[in-house]
């Protein structure tokens, strides 16, 4: 029986245990998680396909190299991969000598504005630009949180799993940022 066929009969935790000692079993994890990780990286980069491909491969390379250190702490395996991918993309941004532009859809900005209680109806282009400028003023960890929640459209549960925190903590951190944006917006009006 080939490893691929054998993997199909195993549970994920069994495959993870085997992948720690035999890299060929890592292939099943790669097959299963490549798509969501690639989509995640692609979106974070604002649609840069080639860089997304490279960073996704790097993510899996790191995961493969650190498989023996992976511990099941009650969070899904995917959250570990998302965390590695998140770090890879952030490192890529830090290494850029020039400013790297990441495009966000207008609908996402609109949703963010509604959640921050800034706008409930349609925003003008100027207001969208103003809000994006405010977002660019946030620090890196705050931006990452906003990105995951509003631009990657992840649930608080998924965000909590990536950061290995409770759902309540992820929610609280996000709403604190929204409150600050809301205050800043009202002060500038």
């Amino acid at each position: 029986m080939s490893r691929k066929e054998h993997s199909k009969q195993l549970s994920e935790s069994e495959i993870i245990a085997l992948a720690k000692t035999d890299q060929k079993y890592f292939g099943s994890l790669y097959d299963h998680y490549f798509d969501p990780i690639f989509r995640f990286v692609f979106k974070r980069l604002g649609g840069d396909e080639e860089t997304a491909g490279d960073l996704t491969q790097q993510t899996f390379m790191k995961a493969m190299a650190n498989m023996s250190k992976y511990e099941d702490r009650g969070f899904p395996f995917s959250s570990w991969l998302y965390r590695i991918a998140q770090n890879e993309v952030s490192m890529f941004f830090r290494q850029q000598s020039k400013v790297y532009s990441v495009a966000i859809d207008e609908s996402r900005i609109q949703e963010f504005a509604q959640e921050a209680d800034i706008f409930s109806s349609h925003m003008s282009m100027e207001d969208q630009d103003k809000l994006v400028e405010m977002l660019n003023g946030l620090n890196e960890s705050e931006l990452e949180l906003i990105e995951l929640r509003f631009f990657q459209e992840m649930s608080f549960k998924e965000i909590a799993e990536i950061y290995s925190v409770s759902e309540a903590t992820a929610k609280m951190r996000t709403y604190r940022i929204l409150e600050r944006i809301n205050k800043q917006w009202k002060n500038e009006e």
Binding site: Q23, K24, G27, Y30, D31, F34, D35, F38, R39, F42, K43, G46, G47, E49, A52, G53, T56, Q57, F60, M61, M64, A65, F93, R94, Q96, V99, Y100, S101, V102, A103, I104, D105, E106, I109, M125, Q128, D129, V132, L135, N136
Partner: protein
Amino acid sequence: MRKFTVNREQKNLNPTDAQVKRHKDFSRLHHDYEKLTKRGKKPLYRDPKMFMFLLVIAIILLLLFLGELN
């Protein structure tokens, strides 16, 4: 450093299945990983056990050869 901008050019921010497929290649990943992690063979002089073993064999062969000559 990165900066957010509004996607007014209507750039596709979600990859198509074809784009995902184009980059999915486990054999390439495995090959790259092997290339990166495979260590060069340990030189003989850095392996004292192997060095001593080969030295003893060489001495035995030399003694046998000298014994044959005598």
